[in-house]
Subunit: 355 residues, 4 copies
């Protein structure tokens, strides 16, 4: 299989960028959960193009149509299917590129995998547009988690080398989702915006890091070895296009730590046992320890850039050059923030309901 | 479930550190594959304690007994079960610690998850000792991959802040498995050894990074979205205790790259289409592109350290101090190198056979 | 999860009888398979109401819209989603029944499972209407199987006590799908038709048995113990509403056989090793033996009958009587024949592609 | 995969009839469940050869060794592995048969599936001996179910054409496990015993049917469509060697019923809503309805018979004759009764814990 995820909650994504539509089936939701569609729309708007600096001008019109599994404003408990029709697709922009695989895209690997049968228009099933139904599914999961006292928030940790203030791993983070760039430090946000605009003018792009934290997640969920919390969260995060690295807690930095620095030591607090620090990102032995769940994902720069790039020509089988003329984000990280919140929410709900 | 992994190849790990034994069931192996048990023993020896500097003096006696699925020197195609009996366990070292959860261990999370029913001796099912049967399974997978032209190698990328020469991501890496520390630069290896010994003398520990590369893996395997190569490889890597971060290709560094730098551009080589660089780590759109598969894992420092540490006392429900007196690695990274090779080999074989 | 099936091919069904629509996502199809939509329509017409005697007069209008995974007349290899919009639903017929659970329906169990949140109109997600997208998925699978030399055919084995001529388990069966009742013996078909009409006039219903056979399925597929061919085929067949029994080969009759009668003995034929008989239904030790795959499913009578029936009243919590006034099949078995062919085809394709 | 089963509880079977041993890993058990090993031994004894009439004289010595997941008399919640060593295997009896596939066995299909690499001795992984660890797993599940008020009982419904009194589908059945043949009617049991002995004297064998019923299973568990209760129970039952048919409630008989006869009608009882009849076997729409769960499995006659049988010779590729001289059951049905109870218990525990 290619596009299904989950143990208790099962997500099945379908669709191609320039086909009839894209969508998701969510199987295993608890029944009777009220879902506020207005809140879903707000969450999805944060991902939609045009809302963030550096985003493509393409108007996606992410009008979600809920087909099933939703009755009288509540989940039924049977599969919830939601669809987004495609429009404004301008396939002509892409047609001439088929012979010239775009560097950094899945054009060559899609060819190898599907022997040329996959829909090449706009990236087809590989398109970042598939994150729209994923974000929808996450918006549903977030409401169910909230009702159980769990909050999931993310911000831009960095774009290029410009870093936002990191989350305090022991505290509920500030909600910065309403800002034009979701960052804690507005000053750093301004610098990020300038960097993004500079790169757009250079017909280039830039990568970044998203940091995400879930508070209120109970201790004792997950399990050791393969089906542990890190494995399950990472496996859905790497399903988000352009993610090339995932780390929990202090992540790669712990490789430079001594044990005496890194170990989170317990103490008796009024509310029960707490940990003085949270280097582990709320997970020890694959199981939640009651501290906030904290992780970061590295995003590569958008592969679609306006600059001419070297490639091969599959018709002539010679070296060639390609220029990508469509509309593209010079930085996808701002739009990726709600996508990561969504992926995390799906994973956490799956873990929560399974145990 | 907690301890099973895989789609086509299914690995089921069982056992506790100080119980009767530990082992693995490998389901889905192709039939008729000759397996050289001598090579398995060599591979497992690289993981065994005492063979590497900084390793625990505990003699694990990893005598593998193959119970099933192996006949006349070949895999049968039916489930292969292998067991390692436990001995020399000295449970007395651990008994007094039950009331005082060890910082950085799964003592508290295990308690929350299993309501006190799990075997606490030596970490029980959470023990790093469970990587022994995982390494066995990987040793089997490696031989099957080798027969198909695929090589999996790993080295210590760093211990603390001391870095080994990184792999060239476009070339088959040198085999450094025979060295006392598996590094490319013997000089850096010497410095790492000194650091490890210093920390042992300080009753402390240190983390590190393992870099792993698979060459010869064919293009066109894996798939987009959830069941992609990164997700599947990461999900097994995070199953290795102490791994807190996983990155592919240039990983977190790509967050600082421009698209024009990061995109791997194709060209016509004599042997077909190749890529000039391999920033993507051999994976584009979740699918292998024919370049080497490259990734790194961050290991936290061993939580077991000799220094006194703050903790709580579960009997008195007050703050307390714990001193861990057992034998422990001051750095597990050298022993983790064959474990990571093994986990990668299992994941790659699973992907290879599924498609 | 509730509505997903498969290892290599994954089917996800969604929708409710009287909601916006119903549909299916098929994940894992091989890429580049031409699919003849006209043949799909013909196959689905055999299931549609009004086409068979005893069928409901409701016009379902099973207009399938393929949303994704299909490009230039071929499968892309990425998830294929197909939808059928609902219309002509007359929910008013059902609304008054909510307080009075219908005997033989899932009204009470749906209430227990979903705490009253599931869509009750027309059976909701429990509706036999969900077999329409399943039949679509099977029609796709059948074309892919045909291209590999595998044929799947079914007929009505019996309705009530009237039995059709059974299939010869060693021969490719006659295609009777074009007949108004899919039976081998037109004379028996006539008697079945009379029985169905009698029961319709009595406002009652009747059960039956469907026999299905796949020829051309290669030997050596499947596996022993849990994931064997019988388990996988049975698990999808029991997913068809109203199926209460599944048997392979001679099925329940073998319980009365002696070993010397039942064992299928091999002999040397010109084309290789064949078996003299096929009591095992083409499966030995969970693995195909090259003989036709043969099985039967028992269908219970349609629970919706016009006669007054005893039930309880959930508002008054007293005994009560219910009369079902909607339009219903007095026998679903004729329409079930292509559904069973479809379910079998999906299972066989899943097994074929996995190995 | 071949030998794993389950969603929440995962069972992994391994081993070959004449290898070092056979066993099972049970993943996902709840922690802290006391397990009475004496009761397990009693349950397994009912399956062991020599204890029932018609059973092979081979002494299997099913000495179970629990390797992991069991501590201080309770489940730990981590994987429970149990092994049975093999002894008294007399492989010589089988060696000469390799060239002559035994009719009714998996010799030919095993060859096709595993290309000759599987262990042929005593049926290898196909052996009915693999039901011993399955029975162990079931014995564990039964104790956990009992603690939750659920009882699972089975009896011989028929051997050949001799039928025992059927269970009353609305009542807790009598426990007949202590009888030498587990039947309700001792008179019929006597006739069955005579039939079995006659067939043994004729060097032949006979099939039969096992009926199983679980009482106390709560309403509202399971789900519609694919992952329904019938599918899950049937999928594990067909994993028991020699099972060729599975039916729930009235099963194949409902194909001859009218709707007005078959529908189980609800009424108000003192303890809540009950059903007047239980033709559905406690399952409606794939979900439990609170009535006893009732099903039957058809067993084919033991394929190993002493009579000479026609077969082919794989060395000469000509027709030939085989005589099987080992020790074999002339009827496996008596020994199958606890196996079916076990398989049912595992399925019911999996369903119970998942929801």
């Amino acid at each position: 299989m290619s596009s299904m995820w989950g143990n208790k909650i099962r997500i099945s994504l379908f669709g191609e960028s320039h086909g009839k539509g894209i969508g998701v089936v969510i199987d295993g939701l608890p029944p009777g959960e009220p879902i506020d569609t207005e809140r879903i729309a707000q969450h999805m708007k944060r991902r939609s193009p045009g809302f963030q600096p550096g985003a493509t001008a393409r108007r996606e019109g992410d009008e979600i149509s809920v087909i099933s599994g939703f009755y009288n404003g509540k989940t039924t408990g049977t599969p919830l299917c939601a669809m987004i029709g495609n429009s404004d697709t301008r396939s002509v922009d892409y047609d001439k590129l088929v012979a010239k695989p775009r560097p950094g895209h899945a054009d060559l690997t899609g060819l190898a995998r599907y022997a040329g049968a996959n829909d090449p228009r706009g990236g087809g099933h590989f398109s970042g547009r598939l994150t729209a139904p994923l974000t929808f599914a996450g918006a549903v999961a977030i409401q169910i988690l909230n009702r159980r006292g769990i909050t999931v928030r993310a911000h831009i940790a960095s774009i290029g080398t410009i870093e936002d203030t990191p989350y305090d791993p022991t505290q509920t983070p500030e909600d910065c989702s309403e800002r034009s760039l979701p960052v804690l430090s507005e000053d750093r946000g301004l610098k990020m915006r300038q960097l993004i605009e500079t790169l757009r003018d250079e017909h280039d792009s830039i990568g970044g890091v998203v940091e995400c934290m879930a508070t209120g997640f109970p201790a004792g969920l997950g399990r050791p070895i393969f089906d542990n919390m890190e494995s399950r969260i990472a496996s859905i995060l790497f399903g988000v296009p352009a993610v090339k690295g995932v780390e929990f807690g202090r992540g790669f930095k712990v490789s430079q730590f001594k044990g005496s620095q890194n170990n989170d030591s317990p103490y008796m607090a009024e509310e029960g046992i707490r940990l003085r620090t949270n280097h582990a990102g709320g997970i020890e032995g694959g199981i939640s320890n009651g501290m906030p769940i904290l992780f970061r994902c590295a995003f590569k720069p958008t592969p679609s850039i306006g600059k001419p790039q070297k490639t091969v020509n599959l018709e002539t089988m010679t070296d060639d050059t390609v220029e990508i003329t469509g509309r593209h984000d010079s930085c996808i990280v701002p739009r990726a923030v709600p996508v990561i919140e969504s992926a995390a929410a799906i994973a956490l709900l799956d873990i929560l309901l399974e145990d």
